[in-house]
């Protein structure tokens, strides 16, 4: 595999301008992330200290094998919801190494409304368990939750992918033989109680940990019974009387030690052996990505320059380099793992769509995971392309991609508009993981295009109604539409709604993909085969 030749001039004005722009975006992202992780009202932090409870992140650090990565998912979930009062959607989710085993770690956040679950918390937990199921990742729950946030119950309780889904997923995980361990650090009330209840193993901390369907106030209200937390659902009771929990722990640290010991007993299920080489750092400095991605979403750039800064040794075996050139396809290694990369270098034409579909088939044939690097404005429109069957060719790519048996990973590098999102494995296509860069925008179309389209429709409507075209009304509509779109298009909105698995610093792309690909190998490949391709 030969090394890509970069043609970036790091001394150019463009490069410097881009770099300044992207560094500012990343700094903004880091600031939001930092706030979501650590900024809490003092009284909540004081209460935690008073209860002698460690912050969840400290517990996670203690749980993890030292000197190993932790890929946090959706750190900015709910960042644009609930007036910002549910940072990270009140939960921490990520993949890391515990006692030499890759596990999904999921932790409640007791510093926000007693760890209550907001609707997006539920969505985040369900997604975490979906990931665990798709990748057969054991789960360690760090439980400290009061259960559903009652004020918003209609948004988190009744529907298919709401609260009940958590427990359905827990049950199915267990059926699949994917282990779950619950470490109970705080009160797990109502729905929160079922997490340890449905885990294969559970540890509960004496004094602070408790599990009950209804806490003492609810019991008092319902039956008039006076009962203490300890009697109702404390460690002593659950480990010696009810059997709801398995191991009592004498401290949080002790619980973590027991938990690590439990995980170390778990069998290591065979991983699917992907083709693998010795990892090699990229030849080109990944930090140059900042100077490559333009400061304006409308400016084009060569995705090969990005590939060169993500893959091992900057080596890339490009497939069909002279055909369908708006879709760059080829083989490379990421942290040693062989992958097939599809990256957009412009709008998708008939040839690039067919090339993409073909390349996906090759990767499925070769058991090579797929990595999609999205920067797509859509499939080409116009009479000429419709006559050539652009819809039909785009459908081939969607069919091949949807039916892939190899794991798929998507990185939203810049823009994702229209049906191109589908062909390039958008969220709906069950890629194992989907990450976004902070500059990323997503929508059916761009803000300008939407505003133009709606203004055009409005003008026609005015004309049809016989009136004159009120240009100021049109301008107002245009500006309003553009503004609303702009907000919805932003990566922060996407990630707030859990349309991705988190925003990442572009420089973290390689590591994030490394951990994600590694996780995906725990699940066997799906059955081969596709539906009917329209030729």
């Amino acid at each position: 595999m030969s090394r890509l030749q970069s043609s970036i001039n790091t001394a150019s004005a463009d490069f410097r301008r881009n770099e300044a722009h992207n560094r500012r975006l990343v700094a903004e992202f880091r600031a939001k992330q930092e706030a979501a992780r650590h900024s809490r009202p003092q009284r909540d932090l004081d209460r935690l200290a008073r209860q002698q409870k460690m912050p969840q992140r400290k517990r996670i650090e203690m749980l993890l094998d030292p000197g190993t990565p932790f890929l946090e998912l959706s750190s900015l979930a709910a960042n644009m919801a609930y007036g910002g009062e549910s940072p990270s959607a009140s939960s921490i989710v990520g993949i890391g190494m515990v006692s030499g085993r890759e596990v999904m770690i999921r932790a409640d956040d007791p510093t926000v409304k007693g760890g209550a679950w907001y609707p997006l918390t539920v969505k985040k937990i369900v997604r975490a368990l979906d990931i665990a199921m798709e990748n057969r990742l054991p789960v360690v729950h760090l439980c400290d939750s009061a259960g559903g946030f009652l004020q918003l119950q209609s948004e988190l309780f009744p529907d298919r992918y709401m609260g009940g889904r958590i427990f359905r997923n827990q049950s199915l995980l267990s059926k699949m033989g994917v282990k779950q361990l619950a470490l109970v650090f705080g009160h797990c009330t109502a729905g929160g109680a079922y997490i340890p209840g449905l885990s294969d193993y559970s540890v509960i901390v004496r004094g602070t940990g408790a599990v009950f369907l209804g806490g003492p106030p609810l019991v008092k209200a319902a039956t008039g019974e006076d009962v203490t937390v300890e009697e109702l659902g404390g460690a002593e009771m659950h480990t010696s009387v009810s059997g709801t929990c398995d191991y009592p722990a004498d401290s949080e640290e002790h619980a973590i030690e027991i938990g690590r010991d439990i995980v170390s007993q778990w069998d290591r299920l065979p991983r699917w052996e992907a083709q693998r080489e010795t990892p090699e750092e990229p030849f080109y400095d990944p930090a140059e990505i900042y100077g490559i991605v333009p400061d304006d979403i409308k400016k084009a750039f060569d995705m090969r320059e990005i590939i060169a800064r993500i893959v091992d040794g900057s080596r890339f075996h490009e497939y069909k380099p002279n055909y369908g050139t708006t879709l760059v396809c080829g083989f490379a290694n990421i942290w040693g793992f062989k992958v097939g990369i599809l990256a957009n270098n412009g709008v998708l034409f008939n040839d690039s769509s067919i090339k993409g579909a073909h390349f996906i088939e090759l990767c499925n044939q070769n058991n090579t995971p797929l990595v999609f690097l999205q920067n797509i404005t859509g499939y080409m429109v116009g009479r000429e392309y419709e006559r050539r069957g652009i819809t039909k060719d785009g459908a081939k790519m969607i069919m091949a991609q949807s039916c892939s048996r190899v794991p798929k990973f998507t990185v939203m590098c810049n823009g994702s508009f229209g049906a191109g999102n589908y062909g390039m494995c958008g969220r709906a296509f069950d890629g194992r993981f989907l990450f976004s860069w902070p500059n990323h925008q997503i929508g059916v179309m761009g803000g300008d295009q939407a505003a133009n389209t709606l203004a055009e429709v409005k003008a026609n409507q005015m004309k049809r109604n016989g009136g004159a075209v009120d240009q100021s009304e049109i301008d107002r509509l245009w500006e309003e539409t553009r503004k609303a779109y702009q907000e919805q298009l932003s990566a922060y909105h996407s990630t707030s709604e859990l349309w991705d698995d988190g925003i990442i610093d572009p420089l973290d792309t390689r590591n994030a993909l490394g951990v994600a690909i590694s996780a995906s190998l725990n699940a066997p490949l799906g059955p081969p085969g596709y539906g009917v391709f329209r030729f």
């Binding site: 094998d65 030292p66 000197g67 190993t68 990565p69 932790f70 942290w335 610093d505 994030a512 490394g514």
Partner: protein
Amino acid sequence: MMTGQDDNPPFRKVLIANRGEIACRVIRTLREMGIASVAIHHPVEARARHVREADEAVEISGETPVSAHLDIGQIVGAARAVGADAIHPGYGFLSENARFARAVDEAGLTFIGPDAETIALMGDKISARQFAADYGVPVAPSVMPTEDLAEFTRQATAIGFPLLIKAAAGGGGKGMSIVRSAEELEGAARHAASEAQRYFGDGRVYAELFVERPRHIEVQVFGDGKGGAIHLFERECSVQRRFQKIIEEAPAANLPAALRDEICASAVRLAAAANYRNAGTVEYILGADGRFFFLEMNTRLQVEHPVTEMITGLDLVRLQIEIAAGRDLPFAQDDVTANGHAIECRICAEDPERDFLPETGTILHLDAPQAAYLRFENALDRGQRVTADFDPMLAKLVAHGPDRAGATRRAIAALHDLALLGVKTNIDYLARVLGHPAFAAGDLHTGFVVQHKAALAAAEPDEATRDKVLIAAALGLRDFRDLILGVPEPHASIGLWRN
């Protein structure tokens, strides 16, 4: 050292009435001589090294392991039962017990040591001292016990100062004092007398010349039991803790040749006078002024005999056996020559930081350095429990060198490399003693350990050493090692990363 099968072994089978390193030591020589060995053991030591190394083993019972090893009837019975024709007592236990020697004799077996009468004579401090004095061996001048304080004062003044005054009847330091001038004498004597009366109901007081900074010098002798005796030079055993030797060497440091000859000659004189048979050791205290006084005679093989073996090239156990069999001394005094210097370190299960109190534990790891100039006398096994049942001495490390400095260097290096883990020992402490400038200068006396206490204390390890120790320890913990090696790729390569 004399080695090889004896063409005509003096005995067929010898029972060793001992255990541990000395039993193994005796077995080694017996094997070289073509003599079968028999070990004895209490049930708790059924799998001990001396039992495994002996050709035969007999179990003896006792409420405690030590009491079994002191049971004369059982041991002599065992020797007869297995058809042994001699018993080697080693050191300690019954080695200086006249009744045992007599019982062995009466059972028709040979006791490898002096006869019972000699043991009894030398075993009694008063009679031994008197015997030594009678034959011109210097004894520390003393005032015999008396209640007559005037007479006491007169005699004491005649001896000179300093004097050690104590109650004649007892010990424990009651009424004991050191008097350095005539003015102090009367008061001290009166005080001692009243204390003696008060504590022991016996007002007699006793005084002897107090030797300042005394050195412990001893002479290895062999007698043929017929008035013939030779010496195998002296040993110095001045480095002691809790009145017990921890480092012994041969020859003594900085001892003028004339004084050495004088000391050795007096020891031979004593042995000859006693018609001494077999190996014995005459112990002296030597003052800074060059005066030396008889202390006692040990009628057995000493713990520290290897230093003598290393400088003379002789096998003392072999000599003991040959003499016990009635053979003559195989060489004359002039044939015995000394070569170089040897130092023995007693490795004990004890805590030098806590007043040398005995320690217990389990031998978890044992790795001793090996060299032609080293002897590591031990009967240790990995997994062996070190209990309070027996003496805390675990082993002896003996190093020989061309001179004292060379032997010291080798001993320090060997202690450095000696890994005996699982019970706290004095190994590191011994190395510090050997490395002390006063030891190098040969500035020794029995108060050495107390005098240099501060300098001999373990220093805090520096940070770099401590970190290395911690790393070595961590890497020894299985789960920490698993933590290092058990992390799969790519996580191991990605390392500590947070997004």
